[in-house]
C-alpha cells in the first residue's frame, strides 16, 4: 500500500478515536456543565441526607442551578452539612429559601431542590440555608402511615 | 581492524552447551583466509551453531572466537556493529524480508551501515543483483520468487557491503540440479573474484567437496579431522572414511541399539 494513503488512513483512524473520546466526554457524560467557573458556595444542614451524593444536582423550579460539592458530618450539631456550588448568574435567591432533598424518579437519584422564600436580602457566598427538609426515608414513611391508620381506628 | 594473518577466523578451545547437551567441547577451528572452507558433518552436530558463534548470535561458554583478531563474543555494541559490516550470511531459507521488494532487501544493509545517496545505493544494488544474475527481478516481491531465486537474492544482500567473510548455511538443501549448479558456481566465483573467504556449512558431500579448498569434519562436538578434500577421502580415521564415502555402516551404526534379533523373534509369544 502506498505510504501516503497509509499515513492518511492511520491519521484518520486516530482522529476518529479521539473524536469518539470527545463525543463520550461531551455528549454522553455531560461534561460541559462544569461548575467552578463563576459559582458561589452556600451550605445547609440536614437531619438525614439518605443517599444524596456529591455532584448531585441542585435545582430550583426544576431547573438545575448548581451542584452539591461536598457532604460532611457536623460533629457538634449531629447533622449532615451539605455544601453546594450555585451558578453565579443565579444570585437572586432570597435568604429564607428552603432546601429539600428530593428523589428523581422511581430508581431514586437524590437531588436538592430549593424553593423560593420571601425575604428581600439575597443569599451570598458562604451563606447558610436555614430551612431544610430531610430526605424521605421509606421506613419512616411506612411507620407514619401505619401510625395514622392505627390512630384512625380509635 | 584487519589482520593479514593466515587465518581469518580462529576458534580457540570453544565450548558451547545448549539444553544440557554439549554441542562443542573445546574445539579448535581455523579458517584459512581467501579460501572456500567446508564444514561438514552429520545432521545436528552443530554446524549451524558454529556459524552463529562466529556471527555473535550465540556466546560460547568458554574459549575465544577470533575474527580478524577480534574476540567477537566480547565486543561492545559499536564494535560489534562495525564487525558485522564485514560478515555476510546466507541463511538456509534465504531469510529475505517478506515485506520488502528484492531491491529493498539488497539495499537494506547499505541503508543500515552507510549514508550513501539513493543513486549510489541503486547502482550498488544493481551491481550485486547482476553478479547473481537477477538484475531483472529488481521490483519483485519475495513471494513471487522461486526458492533458488530467493537464495540468490539473499546472496546479493549478503555481499552488498563487500564483506571479507561470507558464511553459507546449508545452501544446497532441496535445490534442483540447475539452481544447485548456479549456486555452486556463484560461491566459487564470488570467492575468487571478490577475494572473499567463504565458509560453507553443509552435509552435501559431493557439492561441497567440489568447490571447497579445505574441509573440516565435525561430529559429536569434536573435530574429527580437517584437510584438503582428497586428503580426507584417503583418511585413516574410520569415522571420517565412513562420512566421506557415505558408507551406511561403520562407526555410526546402521542398526539402532536393540537386543539380539533371534531372541527378539523367539519372544514373540511373550509380547504384552
Amino acid at each position: 500500500m502506498r505510504t501516503r494513503t497509509l499515513e492518511l488512513t492511520v491519521g484518520l483512524f486516530i482522529l476518529v478515536g479521539i473524536l469518539a473520546l470527545l463525543v463520550l466526554a461531551l455528549r454522553v457524560s455531560g461534561l460541559s456543565i462544569s461548575p467552578g467557573n463563576d459559582t458561589y458556595k452556600i451550605h445547609a444542614h440536614f437531619d438525614n441526607i439518605a443517599g444524596l451524593t456529591p455532584r448531585a444536582k441542585v435545582t430550583m423550579a426544576g431547573v438545575t442551578i448548581g451542584q452539591v460539592t461536598a457532604i460532611e458530618f457536623d460533629k457538634s450539631r449531629y447533622t449532615a452539612r451539605v455544601e453546594m456550588a450555585i451558578d453565579g448568574n443565579v444570585n437572586t435567591l432570597p435568604s429564607d429559601s428552603a432546601a429539600s432533598i428530593l428523589t428523581a424518579g422511581l430508581l431514586g437519584e437524590k437531588y436538592v431542590g430549593i424553593s423560593v422564600g420571601g425575604e428581600d436580602s439575597m443569599l451570598k457566598d458562604g451563606d447558610r440555608i436555614v430551612d431544610t427538609q430531610s430526605a424521605l426515608v421509606l421506613e419512616e414513611l411506612i411507620g407514619r402511615f401505619l401510625l395514622s391508620t392505627v390512630s384512625k381506628e380509635d | 581492524m584487519t589482520d593479514d594473518s593466515e587465518f581469518i577466523v580462529d576458534l580457540k578451545q570453544v565450548t558451547f552447551k545448549r539444553g544440557g547437551r554439549t554441542i562443542f567441547d573445546g574445539v579448535d577451528i581455523r579458517i584459512p583466509r581467501g579460501k572456500v572452507t567446508g564444514i561438514m558433518g552429520p545432521s545436528g552436530c552443530g554446524k549451524t551453531t558454529l556459524l552463529r558463534l562466529i556471527g555473535a548470535q550465540l556466546r560460547p561458554e568458554s574459549g575465544e572466537v577470533l575474527v580478524n583478531g577480534q574476540d567477537i563474543p566480547r565486543l561492545r555494541r559499536e564494535a560489534l556493529f562495525r564487525a558485522r559490516q564485514n560478515m555476510g550470511m546466507l541463511f538456509q531459507s534465504g531469510a529475505l524480508f517478506t515485506d520488502l521488494s528484492v531491491f529493498e532487501n539488497v539495499a537494506f544493509p547499505l541503508r543500515v551501515h552507510t549514508e550513501l545517496s539513493e543513486d549510489m545505493i541503486a547502482d550498488i544494488v544493481k551491481l550485486k543483483l547482476q553478479a547473481v544474475g537477477l538484475r531483472g527481478a529488481n521490483g519483485l516481491m519475495p513471494d513471487e520468487l522461486s526458492g533458488g531465486m530467493k537464495r540468490r537474492v539473499a546472496l546479493a544482500r549478503a555481499i552488498a557491503l563487500d564483506p571479507e567473510l561470507l558464511m553459507y548455511d546449508e545452501p544446497f538443501v532441496g535445490q534442483d540440479p540447475i539452481s544447485m549448479g548456479v549456486l555452486v558456481r556463484l560461491i566459487r566465483l564470488l570467492n575468487d573474484a571478490l577475494g572473499l573467504t567463504s565458509i560453507v556449512v553443509s552435509h552435501d558431500l559431493a557439492e561441497t567437496a567440489s568447490i571447497a579448498d579445505y574441509l573440516y569434519v565435525i561430529a559429536d562436538g569434536q573435530v574429527l579431522g580437517h584437510g584438503a578434500p582428497d586428503e580426507l577421502m584417503e583418511s585413516d580415521n574410520p569415522r571420517i572414511r565412513q562420512f566421506m564415502r557415505g558408507e551406511p555402516d561403520g562407526p555410526v551404526p546402521f542398526h539402532y541399539p536393540a537386543k539380539d534379533f533371534t531372541d527378539d523373534l523367539l519372544q514373540r509369544g511373550e509380547h504384552k
Binding site: G17, L21 | F97, V112
Partner: protein, 260 residues
C-alpha cells in the same frame, strides 16, 4: 509408567518453565521498549503497524460494538420495564459499555484478531530466519520488528475501545428510541446525568490502556518465543488468544475492584 513423584516433578518443572518464560518476557519487553535503536525511521514502521493493527481491526470492532449496544438496549428495556424504569435504559447502556464491555470486549476481539495476527507474523519471521538475518546485518530485531508493533498496540487499542463505546451507545439509541419508543430526550439526558467523565470514562480508558499493554505484550512475546516450526507457530497463536483473554478478564476484575 510415571510414578506420583515423577508427575509432581513434572508439575514443578512446568511451573519453573512458566516462571522462566515470564522472566524472559520481562527482559524482552525491557529491551524492546527502552534503550536506543541503532537504525531506523521508527516512525514509519510505527505508522505501518498502526495501520495493520488498528485500522484493520476497525471493521470487527464497529460491527461488534453496534450489535452489543443494540442487544444491551433490548435486554435492558425488557428488564427495566418490569420496574417501570424504561427511561433509564440510556444510562444502563452507557455505563455498561463504558465501564466494562467497552474495554473488555474490545480487548478480547483485539486479542483474537490483531493479537493472533501479530503472533503468527512474528513467529513466521522467526521460522524463516528473518529475525536472525536482521541481527546478522546489525539491526536489533527487538527495536526494528517488535517495538513498533508494541507501540501500535498500546496506542490503537484504547482508541478502538472508545470507538466501540460510541458505536454501542449509538446502536443502543437506535434500538431504544426508534424501535422501542423510549423518549429520545430521556435516553440522552438520563445518560448524561449518571455518566461521570472522571469516574466512568477515564476509568474505562485506563482499563483499555492496561488491557492494550497486556494483550500486545503477550501477542508479541509468544511470536518471538515460539518454536520456529509451523507447529510451533500455530501453538503460539493459540496460546496468545488464550493467555491474553485470561489476562484481560483477570485484570478486569482487579481493576474494577480498585476503581469502582
Amino acid at each position: 509408567m510415571k510414578t506420583l513423584s515423577d508427575r509432581i516433578a513434572l508439575m514443578g518443572a512446568s511451573g519453573l518453565d512458566v516462571v522462566a518464560a515470564l522472566g524472559r518476557s520481562g527482559v524482552f519487553l525491557f529491551h524492546a521498549l527502552l534503550g536506543r535503536s541503532n537504525f531506523g525511521s521508527g516512525w514509519n514502521l510505527f505508522v505501518k503497524q498502526l495501520y495493520a493493527v488498528g485500522v484493520l481491526s476497525l471493521a470487527i470492532i464497529i460491527v461488534s460494538g453496534l450489535f452489543i449496544g443494540m442487544v444491551l438496549a433490548l435486554q435492558g428495556y425488557n428488564i427495566l420495564s418490569t420496574y417501570g424504569s424504561e427511561q433509564a435504559v440510556g444510562q444502563m447502556v452507557a455505563l455498561t459499555l463504558l465501564r466494562e464491555l467497552g474495554p473488555v470486549v474490545t480487548a478480547l476481539l483485539f486479542a483474537g484478531r490483531a493479537g493472533s495476527a501479530l503472533t503468527a507474523e512474528i513467529g513466521l519471521m522467526k521460522a524463516t530466519e528473518q529475525l536472525s538475518g536482521l541481527e546478522m546485518i546489525g539491526v536489533d530485531p527487538l527495536k526494528y520488528v517488535i517495538a513498533p508493533r508494541l507501540w501500535a498496540g498500546f496506542v490503537s487499542m484504547p482508541l478502538l475501545a472508545m470507538i466501540f463505546c460510541v458505536v454501542g451507545i449509538w446502536g443502543g439509541a437506535m434500538v431504544a428510541v426508534d424501535w422501542l419508543g423510549v423518549y429520545a430526550g430521556s435516553y440522552w439526558s438520563n445518560m448524561q446525568n449518571s455518566v461521570e467523565f472522571g469516574s466512568d470514562i477515564i476509568n474505562g480508558l485506563i482499563k483499555a490502556v492496561a488491557f492494550a499493554f497486556v494483550v500486545t505484550w503477550i501477542a508479541v512475546f509468544q511470536g518471538y518465543d515460539c518454536e520456529p516450526t509451523s507447529e510451533g507457530i500455530s501453538r503460539a497463536t493459540t496460546r496468545t488468544v488464550v493467555y491474553a483473554s485470561l489476562a484481560v478478564l483477570g485484570l478486569d476484575f482487579i481493576l474494577t475492584a480498585l476503581m469502582f
